[in-house]
Symmetry: D2
Subunit: 355 residues, 4 copies
C-alpha cells in the first residue's frame, strides 16, 4: 500500500472521461479549441473575478513561470526554506527568471512568520544596486510540512509584501487540500477568499496530485501579466499543440466540485491515519495540519518492519535513514484514491508493532 | 473538414487504451514507474542501439533541450531558414542554450544543401573568439516544406558537420511520415539507418502530430549526454510527476508498428490529395514530398470558396492573404485520422471550382 | 605602420591628463564621485536633451546591455548582417537579453535599406506567439563598411521601426567619425540631429576607438530605461568601483570638442589615403564613406609585398586569404594618431608596387 | 579623511607610470599586444605553476565568470552568507551561470567552518535530480569581516569540497592584504601555498582595491578551463579592445613586490588604528583580522561627532543607523595611500570624544 506521495495517485474517472470526450474528431491546436477557450470563463467563475489561465504540465514549470513574471532577472523571491520553489525545482525558477535569487525564510511548521518577513523586508536593499531586489513572496498552500495558512495569515503576509512593493505568489500544488481543510477545520472560505482577496497575485493551481493526469494551471489574478506570460509559456515549451487534452482535465477537475470532493476524501483518510496512529505507544505525531500529509515519528524498527510488510512511504527528510535503534520520522500522504482499507491496514500494522 | 495541421488530429484508440491501462492503481512518480522504465529498452530495440529517452510534452521543448545539450551558450546551430527551431519556438532554443545563435541556411524545397553547409562551415569562425562558434546542425525530417532527406543526404550533411566538429540534431516532429515515405518512395531504410547510422546524434522524436495525446521523446544516440539532460529536463519542468501517462503513449506509439501504420495512412491520404488535385485547370502543386503535407497553389477565388464550404487549412506562408484575384498557396495536411471521404470531398470541391 | 584598426590607437594626451587629474586623493566609489556625477549634465548638454549615461568598458557590453533594455527575452532585433551586434559579440546580445534573436538584414554598402526593413516589419509575426517578436532595430553609425547613414536615412528607418513599435538602437563605436563625416561631406548636423531627433532611443557611444583608454557610454535618450539599466549594468560587472577613471575619460573626450577634432584628423588621414591610392593602376577603391575606413582591392602580390615592408592591415573579410595571383581587398583604418607620414609611406609603397 | 573603502584609493604611481609606458604608439588589440602576452608568464612565475590569466574590469565579473566555469546552470555554490558572491553582485553569479544557486553558509567571524561545510555536503542531493547540484565552494580571502583563512583552514575546506566533487573558488578582492597578514601574523606562506597548493582551482585576484585603476585577474589554476573562459570572457564584454592598458596595471601590480608593499602599508595602518583605538573607554574592537579592515563599536554620539569632524566611514552593516544613544559599529578601511596622519587624526579625535 502506497503512502509515498499524491503523485502516485491514479487519474480520477471523471477526468479520464473528460479526456475521452475531448477526443471526438479534429480540433484547433495550441489552445484555440473550444475546451481550452472555456477555461478562463470557468476559472473566473470559480475565483469570482476575471482571471487568465495558462495550462502547464508540471508544478515545476508553474512555479518557474510564475517567478518569471513576478521578478525581474535582478530580483529576489522570499520563500520558506523547504518550499519547492527553493529546493525542488533544480534551479528552474533561477533559470526562468534569468538569474533571480530565492531568499529562504525559515518558517515554523512550514509556514513563513509575519515577523520574519517584516524583518527581512525592512532590512532589504531597496534600490541598493549591489543587491538583488526583493520582488516577490511565494507561499506554499498547503505547506511542505502539511500545514495550512489561514486567510488572516495570508492577508497579513501579503500586506507586508505589498507594502514593500513585492508581489505575492501562491504555490498551490495541494491547494485543494488546503481549501477543504480550511473549511472543515478552521473557517469557511472560498477559493477567492484565500487567494486574491487575501492579496495573492499569481497562483500555481495544482491538479496533478489530486486526480489529474498531468495538468496544472497558472492563474493570473493580475491579468495584465498575461501578455508577457503568453510568450514565456510558449518558449518554455508549454503551449501544447493538443492543448485540449490538458484543458479537458482542468475543466473536469473543477466541474461540480470534483476537485474539492477528491481533496475532502484525501484529507479524511489522513485524519483517519492521524486518529488511528496517535494512540499507540512509541508513536508520535510530528505534524498534521488537517490536509493530506501526516508526519509520524516511529522507532526505527517499526519503520523497517512496516516496509517489510509492503507499506510504501518516505523517510522525512528523504535523506534521513532509519536505523533499527534510531527513531525516524516518516511522511504518509493520502490521496483521492486512498481507501479506508489502506488506512486500516497500516494502522493495524502499527498497532501490532507497537505492542 | 480539417486540413490545417496534424495537430488537430485525435488520439489513436490504441494510445487512449494504453493511457487507460496505465491507470490501474498507484505507481511511482517522476519516471520511476514500470512503464517509463520500459521505454529505453523499447526504443533501444527500435533503433537497434542503446539510446537514452527523455519524454517531453512538446516539440518546442524537445528541440530546445536538444539544442541545449548540443551547443554551449556561445555556440551556433545551423538550421534551414523555415525550420521550427529557427522560426517557431519563440526563441526557446536561444533561451535554453543560454544565448546560442541559430544560423539560418536557405534550403531548396525545405532542405539544406550540402554545398551551402560546406561553404558556411568553411567560412566559420573556428575559435575566433568574437563570433559564436558553430556547434551543431539541425535537420528537419520531414521538412517544413514536406520534403524528405534521403539517407545519403543526411549522411553527407552529417559528415560535413562532424568534419567540422559539429553535432547533428534531427527535428523529427514528422519523423514517422518521413520513414514511411522513404520506404515507400525512395529506399528501404530503418529508423536506425536514417538517424544514428547516418550520423544523427540527437533526435526529437515526435508522436503528438501522429496520434499521441501529448508526447514527444528526446532520443539521445550519444548516451553520454544523458547525465546533463536529466538536470536540464527536470528544471525545464518536463519531469512529469505522473510520467507514466506520457510514457504509456510513447510505448504504445511504437508497439507493433502502430506509429508507422498511422503515418502510412496519413501519407496515403496525402498522395490521394495530390493525385486528385494535380489534374485540374488552374491548380498547381507547389510541393509534395511523399509525406503528409501538400502545398497547392489556387486562384484566390477558389481558396475563398473552399473556406466558405467549410474546408479548413492554412494559407502558406501563414501571413499571406489570398485575395479573389490573387493566386495563393495553401497547405493541406493529412493525419492518421483523415478519411478517404475527407479527401474525396475536397477534391470534388476543387474540381467543381476549377471548371 | 599600423592600419589594422582604431583599436591599436594610443590614448590621447588630453585623456591621459584627465586620468592623472582624477588621481588626486580619495574619492567615492561606484560612480558617486564628482567626475562621474558631472557626466550626465555634460552629455545632456552635448545632446541638447536630458540623457542618462552608463559608462562601460567595451562596445560588446554597450551593445549587449542596450539590447537587453530594448528587447524582451522573446524579442528580436533587426541588424545589418555584418553589424557587430550580429557577428562580433560571441552571442553577447543573445545572452544579456535572455535569449532574443538578432534578425540580419543584408544591407547595401553596410547600410540597411528602408524597403528591406519595411518588408521585414510588414511580414513580422505581430503577436503570433510562436515567433520571436521584433522589438528593436540596431543601426551602426558609421557602418562596418565605413559608410554613413544620413540624417534622413536614420529618420526614415526609425520611423518605420517606431511605426511597428520597435525601438531604435545606434551602435556608435565610430560615432565621432560619422558626425564629422556628415558635417564635412554631406550636411551640417549636430549629435542630437542624427540621434534622438532622428528617432534613436539608445546609443552605444564609442570613445575607445577614438583616443580613450577603455571607455564607452550607453546613452539613454529614453531616460525611463535608466532604472532597469542600473541593475543590468551592475550585475554585468560594469559598475566599476573606481568609476571616476572611466568617467574622466568620457568627460575629457567630449570637452572642448576633443572627440570631433580627433575624428576629424582620422577622417582626413583616410581621405588622404583614398586620394593617394585611387590613382594607381590595378588598385580599386572598394568602399570609402568619408569616415576612417578604406577598403581597397589590390593584386595579391601587392598585398604580400606591403606586408613584407612592415605595413599592417587586415584582409577583408578577415578570413579571406590573399594569394600572389589573386586580387584581395584589404581594410585600412586611420586613427587620431595616424600621421601624414604613415599615409605618405603606404601611398608611396603602393605607387612603387603599382608601376 | 576617508576610511570608507579601499575603493576610494588613488592609483599607485607605479601603476600610473605603467599605463603611461603602455601608451607608446600603436599595439595589437584584444590582448594580442606584448604586455598582455607577458601576463601569463609573469603570473605563472608568481604562483609557481602554469596559470591562465583573464583580465577583467571588476570583482563582480571576476566572481561571476569564475562561478560560470565552476558550476553548471543546475549547480549550486556554497559561500559565506556575507560573501560578495552571495550578497553584493546583484545576482551576477546567478545570471552568468545560467541560473545556479548560491547556498549561504553562516560563518564565524566571516569564515566558513569546516564542520558546517561537511554537514552541508553530507546532506547534499548528490544526483537527486530535483535539487540544484552543489558544484563549487567559494571562499573570500580576506573575508568580508576582515578575517583571514589560514593555509590549513583553506586546505581543510578544499579537501572537503574536492571530496564531494566540488571545485574551489577564492574571491581574492583583498588577496594581497591576506597574504601579507598571513606572513606577518600567522605563518610564512607564498601565494601558491594559500591557493592551488591548498586546493584552490580558480582565483579572483584583486588589484583595484589595492592601487590599480580598474583591473582584476581571473587566475585559472585548472588551465583546462581556459578554452571555455575565453568565450565567456568575450561575450561578457570583458575582452577590452585596448587590453594593454589593463594588462599594464596587472603587470606593474605584481612587479618587484609592489602589490605586497602596498598591502603591507595598508595593513600596518590598520594595526595602528586598532592599537590606537582599543585603549579608550567605551570603544570596543568588534573584529580585526590583521588585514586592512577594522570594525569598532562606539557610542552613537561618538560616531555622529566623528562624521561632523569630517571623517568618512560606513556604519556596519551599512543599513544600520547610529543614534545618539545607541551604540553602533563602524567599519574603517585602510589603503595603500592611507597616511599615518590620517590614522593619528582619527585616533586623536576618538580619544577626545572618549573622555
Amino acid at each position: 500500500m502506497d503512502f509515498r506521495s499524491d503523485n502516485v495517485a491514479s487519474v480520477a474517472p471523471e477526468i479520464m472521461a473528460a479526456i475521452a470526450a475531448a477526443n471526438a474528431g479534429p480540433a484547433a491546436g495550441y489552445g484555440d479549441d473550444e475546451i481550452s477557450q472555456r477555461l478562463e470563463p470557468a476559472y473566473s467563475e470559480l475565483f469570482e473575478t476575471d482571471v487568465r489561465v495558462f495550462p502547464v504540465l508540471t508544478g515545476t514549470i508553474a512555479n518557474s513561470l510564475s517567478a518569471a513574471v513576478l521578478s525581474p532577472p535582478w530580483g529576489a523571491i522570499y520563500a520558506e526554506t523547504n518550499a519547492h520553489i527553493n529546493q525542488d525545482e533544480c534551479g528552474g525558477p533561477e533559470f526562468f527568471t534569468g538569474g533571480a535569487k530565492i531568499l529562504p525564510l525559515e518558517g515554523i511548521n512550514g509556514k513563513i512568520q509575519a515577523e520574519d518577513l517584516q524583518r527581512a523586508v525592512d532590512a532589504g536593499p531597496k534600490g541598493f544596486v549591489h543587491a538583488a531586489q526583493p520582488a516577490a513572496l511565494s507561499l506554499t498552500q498547503s505547506s511542505e510540512a502539511g500545514s495550512i495558512y489561514s486567510v488572516a495569515e495570508i492577508a497579513e503576509l501579503s500586506a507586508i509584501a505589498h507594502g514593500a512593493n513585492l508581489k505575492v505568489h501562491m504555490d498551490g500544488a495541494r491547494f485543494a487540500n488546503a481549501v477543504v481543510a480550511l473549511n472543515e477545520g478552521i473557517q469557511s472560505c472560498s477559493p477567492a477568499d484565500i487567494t486574491w482577496r487575501a492579496g495573492v497575485d499569481v497562483l500555481s493551481f495544482g491538479a496533478t496530485k489530486n486526480g489529474a493526469l498531468g495538468a496544472e494551471a497558472i492563474i493570473l489574478f493580475r491579468t495584465e501579466l498575461a501578455d508577457e506570460m503568453a510568450f514565456r509559456h510558449k518558449r518554455a515549451g508549454q503551449l501544447a499543440s493538443k492543448m485540449r487534452y490538458i484543458s479537458a482535465q482542468l475543466e473536469a477537475y473543477i466541474k461540480d466540485g470534483l476537485w474539492l470532493r477528491m481533496a475532502e476524501h484525501a484529507n479524511r483518510m489522513c485524519w483517519a491515519l492521524a486518529d488511528g496512529m496517535g494512540a499507540f505507544a512509541g508513536v508520535r505525531i510530528d505534524a498534521f495540519g488537517g490536509a493530506n500529509e501526516l508526519f509520524v515519528e516511529f522507532p526505527g524498527a517499526t519503520v523497517i518492519a512496516l516496509r517489510e510488510q509492503g507499506f510504501e512511504f518516505y523517510d522525512w527528510p528523504e535523506t534521513a535513514a532509519a536505523g533499527p535503534d534510531k527513531r525516524c520520522t516518516i511522511r504518509l500522504v493520502t490521496r483521492h484514491d486512498t481507501t479506508p482499507r489502506d488506512v486500516n491496514s497500516i494502522v493495524a500494522a502499527v498497532k501490532k508493532l507497537a505492542v
